[in-house]
């Protein structure tokens, strides 16, 4: 075992011991003595590193002397500072201050950073000295640390350094200045903060520092900062406009909101929507009139922005404006307005829209109906139903669609009657869609209303009736489908067979469908009817919980002469794979001879032969599995076959 591995294992053990100690609440003083001993020993760096982390939790000032030397160790300095940054008391501060006098380069930067984190006011003089260090990284660290500590002495030094420090440290000096300004704000000395912010925003510092100072200068002035804020919003500089938008969301006060709303009219068109968005984020009631006004007229992009904002800020009072926008003829505006109307919060919005509907005409009526559907306004249903025969095609279409969303069993009758009066295929299609939706909700209550459709001499009506009945299921519905198959209309017959063939998937409890399908496999008027019936019947057999496994296999065996194509073979394999027996295994072996379905059959064989089944001998299972292991082209199936064989 090499030294590194020994150290690693030792480290793991140390972690385990310390973690356990934490759990049981071992005496902290004892624990600390053990940890200090590790640091003072010749232990490997790895051990000392983790020890530092433990001292960060359990160490006291007593541990500081043993941590101090590590500050000069390139490998362990950061570990030592993990402890020194959090150990309470002046000893750690003193250690870091002392290190500031002896270290250089990165290690010195680290010590200064930790002083900043600890906000050691006693270190200010030392840090001010370091502010003039030739190493820009050291000077920068000192500037930021002074900012974290704050106070008059730090602020004064940073202000002076703002013009005197080398360019490489100027950004950090400004950062420290901004931090100092925040210190003054926290001490409720905004004038001092403003003095710092103003100096920084006018200094030769990186643009981002100036932006931070601008923001601070505005916020520290409160309402007095409105002018400076407006100046940013009017600026051609992207960064200043951006900080203006950000600060416009932060600066509190109704006078600020009013000033920003007034500014909305003065800004260039491309800036207005962005300011409107900022206004909307202010959570101030005074914003709503400005947004509503913007929604009512002016540049289209501003109107659309306002309309979208009303989703959040709008209420029932916005309905007239939004309805007007939704119906004025501009597609983009109309879409935005309707979207907002569909999402405005409040029951009173529903009531308002429902109340407008009876007297509304044309496009407005259409939009109101669409909204009633989108918002699921049940109170609007009578007015909507009265529109399903409206002369206006737009109104009529919207009403039919809305009935699909809101309708109850009574509307099955309404839609059925409407269907009988409607000739166009497109309109019939939309009525059928609504009918199916309402039927799905109404269930068996729909059947009496639907049966008349199945008596219609119009093939398409008859077929719509069958589709709707297939949504309901049950004996009456099935009877109508069977009657259609026995009828004379070939188009209806074809569709009825298709419906019957999927019946077992939708209504497995309607077992009568099985007999009808079985008969059709032999007596179907067309080959396509027989094929569909065969597929439906196999699905019926598979899903029929009243049949035993042996009965299921027997049903498949009976139909075996008709099962010739891969599609039906796959369905048969699905039935057999779930019905383990000697016969199903034999039948699957036969089906495996068709290369098109061989792998499906092999997989089913492994499933059956891999488990003990009454009536299935060990030899039969082994023979089947060997066959699969030999012939299957699927590695997974082969592997499963071999594994199953090995267990027999």
């Amino acid at each position: 075992m090499n030294v590194a591995n020994r150290h690693f294992i030792g480290l793991v053990l140390l972690i385990a011991v310390l973690a356990a100690a934490a759990a049981v609440g071992q005496d902290q003083a004892t624990k600390q003595r053990e940890l200090i001993a590790v640091l003072q020993s010749n232990a490997a760096s790895a051990e000392k590193a983790i020890t530092c982390k433990q001292l960060a939790i359990y160490g006291t000032e007593e541990a500081v002397p043993s941590l101090m030397p590590l500050l000069a160790d390139k490998e362990l300095a950061s570990w030592a500072r993990i402890a020194l940054e959090v150990i309470p008391g002046p000893a750690a501060d003193e250690a870091l201050r002392e290190a500031m006098g002896t270290l250089q380069g990165r290690l010195l930067v680290g010590a200064i950073n930790s002083i900043g984190v600890r906000r050691d006011a006693m270190a200010v003089d030392g840090l001010v000295q370091k502010l003039g260090d030739n190493d820009a990284d050291v000077a920068s660290a000192a500037a930021v640390a002074l900012g974290h500590i704050g106070g008059d002495r730090a602020a004064k030094a940073l202000l002076q350094a703002l013009t005197r420090s080398p360019a490489a440290a100027r950004s950090a000096v400004a950062e420290g200045g901004v931090l100092c300004a925040e210190w003054y704000l926290a001490k409720d000395q905004p004038a001092e903060a403003v003095r710092l912010y103003d100096a920084i925003r006018q200094a030769d510092v990186p643009n981002q520092r100036r932006l931070e100072a601008i923001r601070g200068a505005i916020l520290a002035r409160k309402s007095g900062g409105i002018g400076l804020l407006i100046e940013q919003l009017e600026s051609a500089d992207k960064g200043r406009f951006g900080i203006g938008l950000r600060t416009a969301r932060e600066l509190a006060g109704r006078d600020v909101t009013e000033a920003l709303a007034a500014e909305l009219d003065r800004l260039s068109p491309e800036k207005r929507p962005l300011l409107l968005l900022a206004l909307a984020d202010r959570n101030d009631d005074a914003v709503s009139p400005a947004v509503l006004r913007a929604a009512q007229g002016g540049p289209k992009s501003l109107r659309i922005t306002a309309i979208n904002i009303l989703i959040r800020l709008g209420d029932v009072a916005c309905v007239p404006t939004l309805l007007a926008a939704a119906t004025e003829g501009d597609a983009e505006l109309g879409k935005a307005a309707q979207e907002t109307l569909s999402r405005l919060r409040g029951k009173e919005v529903d009531a308002d829209l429902a109340a407008r509907l009876p007297d509304a005409k044309g496009k407005t009526r259409q939009v109101l109906i669409e909204l009633a559907g989108q918002r699921e306004i049940g109170a609007a249903l009578p007015a909507i139903v009265s529109s399903i025969e409206d002369a206006d095609a737009g109104v009529r279409g919207a009403a039919i669609q809305a009935v699909g969303v809101l309708g109850r069993d009574q509307q099955v009758a309404d839609l059925t009657k409407l269907l009988q009066k409607t000739a166009g295929s497109a309109e019939r299609s939309s009525i059928e869609k609504a009918l199916l939706a309402v039927t799905g909700r109404s269930g068996v209550k729909s059947v009496p209303h639907l049966l008349p459709l199945t008596k219609s001499s119009d093939s398409s009506l008859h077929i719509i009736g069958l589709h709707a009945l297939a949504v309901v299921g049950g004996t009456e519905a099935l009877g109508a489908v069977k009657a259609a198959i026995a009828g004379n209309d070939a188009t209806v017959q074809d569709e009825a067979v298709r419906i019957l063939s999927t019946w077992p998937n939708n209504w497995p409890e309607d077992t009568e469908a099985g007999d009808a399908l079985l008969r059709l496999t032999q007596s179907g008027a067309k080959m396509s009817h027989q094929v569909l019936a065969l597929r439906g019947y196999l699905q019926h057999v598979r899903g029929n919980t009243k049949l035993s496994n042996n009965q299921k296999v027997a049903r498949v065996m009976d139909l075996r002469p008709q099962i010739k194509r891969p599609e039906e073979e796959r369905l048969a394999i699905a039935v057999l794979g779930e019905a383990p027996s000697s016969d199903s295994l034999e039948l699957l072996t036969t089906l495996a001879q068709d290369p098109a379905v061989a792998e499906e059959a092999y997989s089913a064989i492994v499933k059956i032969a891999g488990a003990e089944t009454p009536g299935l001998s060990k030899e039969q299972r082994q023979q089947a599995l060997r066959m699969v292991a030999e012939k299957s082209g699927n590695n997974g199936t082969k592997r499963r076959a071999r594994e199953a064989l090995s267990k027999i």
Partner: protein, 437 residues
């Protein structure tokens, strides 16, 4: 109470997108699939309607582009109003792959590749950054980027401890930069809808929130045996370590997340999925500016309590099969549960009538779009620095309770544990020199 569960599917690894899915997402975005979401910024307001001139595009730099980073960068590259002009990774193979991705997108060789992120940050022609390094770097790099005047989309977990979480929020507020945490579930309609149910009172008064933490184990960081350090152009080990305490090179530590598990004072724990699921519970409880006040390990779970009395349970087991990262919100009159399959379980089907579009597979596209919109509008993103700060604080405080294996109480106003010095010492960890936040 009769409950309902919608259909389920198998989980996918984070970031998986099926063939043809990109087109579906684009269509869904145009069709307003995110109707349940609160913020709506019209494209016309942001100048991205129609073709976008190169001078109007947001310029992006991407830092730390491994597996997850490549996926999210792909989401960025699909946006027409963006151009990725720089990438940075301490690993040579990843650096080249990221540059190739960007160059292939634009049909040129203009994307510049960097080893040292400070060189990338110094460019004043970059507006925004994708930061997808290992978690060890997330907060430090994000803060450095904000100070350099960049907006940031940062992968989760975004911070290593409570102090970093607070610093992140402070710096982004101070700099006025835009931040989006990579908690993309905030931009997905099923999670937003569940939150809307909680906010609207349709679940009654909230009682208990459940979050899948994706693990609850914690540990202190370690140090693996030294191996020969590769050349800098293959792996810049010093840059990789970044703000983490020094340790020798070992290739096993190059897995960013495993490094984090051993890279922090309290590694692992509930930050993996907690940064998503706890965040979603924070959102549901309207706690984007606070965190629970009590945390207690209980029988393999972590139980927390908000000041408003709502309980937060972090548990790994007992979820409906709704995909990864599930959350469950329970109120006095109903409950809802959802996960990455974008399906729901609920106490009543009536709760789900306006559930909106189903977008499974937790894509980041919507979240990236939200970020880019906010870069233009300067609005707060859905997972802004304040929200991310408090969601991460909740996770870190839970980790502290798990690490100490006892109940801790937390004061969100003072951001300190009450009468618990050991816990308070775990709120922060010194950064390796020369890094600072």
């Amino acid at each position: 109470m009769k409950s309902v569960t919608t259909k389920t599917r198998n989980n996918l690894p984070e970031g998986t997108i099926r063939p043809g899915r990109r087109q579906f997402l684009k269509t869904a975005m145009k069709a307003g699939a995110l109707l349940a979401l609160p913020q709506v910024i019209p494209s016309s307001a942001l100048g991205k309607a129609g073709a976008v001139a190169p001078s109007e595009r947001i310029t992006l730099g991407a830092i730390g582009i491994g597996g997850r980073g490549s996926y999210v960068l792909g989401c960025f590259l699909h946006e027409e109003d963006l151009q990725c002009i720089a990438v940075c990774d301490v690993r040579g193979d990843r650096r080249k792959r990221a540059k190739d991705m960007a160059d292939a997108r634009y049909g040129n060789h203009d994307c510049t590749a960097y080893i040292d992120m400070r060189e990338l940050l110094a460019r004043d022609d970059i507006d925004a950054l994708l930061i997808a390094t290992g978690p060890n770097w997330h907060a430090t790099a994000s803060i450095m980027a904000a100070k350099a005047g960049k907006d940031v989309y940062c992968e989760k977990p975004c911070t290593k401890n409570i102090a970093q979480s607070l610093a992140l929020a402070d710096v982004f507020r101070r700099t006025g930069r835009v931040f989006q945490a990579g908690t993309q579930r905030r931009s997905l309609p099923n999670f937003a809808y569940a939150v809307e149910l909680a906010h609207s009172g349709r679940l009654g008064q909230l009682v208990t929130l459940h979050a899948h933490p994706g693990g609850l184990g914690t540990s202190v960081s370690g140090w693996l045996p030294a191996e020969p350090e590769p050349p800098r152009d293959q792996v810049d080990w010093d840059a990789y370590l970044g703000p983490a305490a020094w340790r020798p090179y070992n290739r096993k530590l190059l897995d960013g997340f495993n490094f984090e598990k051993g890279g922090g004072m309290v590694g692992g724990g509930c930050l993996e999925w907690g940064s998503h699921c706890v965040d979603l519970c924070q959102w549901a409880n309207q706690s984007d500016d606070t965190a629970p006040v009590e945390y207690e390990p209980v029988n393999g779970q972590l139980h927390a309590r908000y000041a408003n009395g709502v309980k937060l349970v972090m548990r790994n087991d007992g979820w409906l099969p709704l995909g990864s990262c599930p959350v469950r919100y329970e109120g006095t009159t109903g409950w809802v549960e959802t996960g990455d399959d974008a399906e729901f379980g609920a106490s009543s089907p009536d709760l789900l009538t306006r559930r909106g579009a189903k977008i499974p597979g937790y894509p980041a596209d919507f979240h990236v779009r939200d970020f880019l919109d906010c870069v233009k509008s300067r609005a707060q993103t859905r997972a802004n620095a304040d929200a991310a700060c408090w969601a991460h604080i909740a996770c870190h405080a839970a980790n502290v309770a798990l690490f100490l294996n006892r109940k801790v109480r937390f004061d969100p106003q003072k951001c300190e544990f009450i009468g618990d010095e050991q816990a308070n010492r775990l709120r922060s960890e010194a950064l390796r020199e020369p890094w600072r936040i």
